[in-house]
Point group: C2
Chain length 249, copies 2
């Protein structure tokens, strides 16, 4: 399995159904049985939304039954050690390694065992982190333990990782096209004041930090808001962090 495999089916400009098909094929060729891909944005440290909380995160899976629905309904993601591992780490890891390496709570053992009952015995979790809390996981698994299962002999976690990154990168292009908005050309001082605003400082605090008057801080904040096309500081901060804006200016 070479790096070429990691790109299979990921042709430029593919739509979600085409990408889903590529995921099916990749899973099969990797020797795993089940895949679950979830993409969204981390909120409050452990959950994810599709940023707009009225929608649910993007969810592609071939796990039978209601496991994935139940998982989020019961807020398993708040405690699941595998989910939590993915949220805090960058590289793929085998479930068995995570379970072995950490001392799990009773609640966590129950989640693992419920998963086994649903046919998810062992597998690999691949985290994908992006800007502004963007987050996705690709979870590949089967119903027997890794040692029993016949995996692709050339299987390398690196290749799984590259596929996940490329797959997610294509998905995110389809999520928020957001082409219309001209990017704001903020001055360094405008970035300064918004930065400290995001750190929780009031205009008076910022005037002391930057050694300028409170009026000036207000002036720069107003300019920044005007350029960003917003009418409140939280909105300006959110936009600065690039939640909605993938521009480079």
């Amino acid at each position: 399995m070479t790096t070429k495999v990691a790109k299979q089916g990921l042709k430029h400009g593919a739509d979600v159904p085409e990408l889903h098909e590529a995921l099916e094929e990749f899973t099969a060729s990797s020797g795993y049985k089940f895949y679950t891909y979830i993409a969204g944005r981390v909120v409050g440290g452990r959950r994810i939304t599709n940023f707009d909380p009225r929608k649910s995160p993007l969810h592609l899976t071939n796990v039978p039954g209601d496991w994935n629905v139940e998982y989020f309904k019961k807020k398993y993601c708040d405690h699941d050690p595998i989910w939590r591992f993915a949220l805090g780490n960058l590289l793929p890891e085998r479930w068995s390694n995570i379970i072995r390496r950490f001392d799990l709570t009773a609640k966590q053992h129950k989640i693992i065992s419920d998963g086994r009952d649903a046919g998810l015995c062992d597998g690999v979790i691949i985290p994908v982190h992006g800007p502004g809390g963007e987050f996705a996981v690709l979870s590949l698994s089967h119903s027997e333990s890794d040692t029993q299962a016949k995996q692709n002999v050339e299987l390398d976690e690196t290749v799984l990782h590259m596929f996940a990154l490329r797959f997610h990168s294509q998905i995110r292009e389809l999520q928020e096209p957001e082409v219309g908005e001209p990017p704001a050309d903020l001055t360094s001082r405008e970035i300064d004041v918004l930065f400290w605003t995001a750190e929780g400082k009031s205009t008076w605090d910022i005037s002391q930090i930057l050694g300028i008057s409170e009026s000036t801080v207000n002036f720069h904040i107003s300019s920044a808001k005007r350029k960003l096309g917003v009418y409140s500081k939280p909105h300006a901060v959110a936009k600065m962090f690039g939640f909605r804006d993938r521009g480079i200016i």
Copy 2:
């Protein structure tokens, strides 16, 4: 160049000088001349600080002269299209492609041309995103344009990417292992009100959107702020999307 190359010198438990040496070797074998690796945490959308915000970001480079010092001193990172691209994207990209694909401002053209004067003519930027705004870039470059330069014929951006991810993953293990606060367990209503706050809505607006009273909106915002340990809405908005926590429980 196979996936094995991406792991060269990255033996488990290596310290920063050993990793630095591995980076030197990898750069040489890749056919590039200069490397710059910067790791930290994104603040205010476009700048970075160290994991520990009191220190400066981790910085490993062999670029001669004061270019890298000047770069941050002059706040080039606020506008540099290559830096901004890395902040907003997941996959490696050639500088020349970024410059070609976007309409740059005069300020941005000047940064590129200043870089050329410092001997950084063309190269590739590799972004690495992590949880809670964790961010690193590996920039590999040379003093001639890509087409003129003699690169490793087997060079594949995928391999550069894998090296960067593994390299950064090792570096982060060496940073202060537990800087994180426990993640805030926000209720869905608290997430709702912060979401609409981030969208620029006032408490009155939100009361209309959610069909509750303004007092209730205030109540939920207060609860969320208390849980997040902050005293302003902009700070809460920034923090809700910027939590850093590496534990799994």
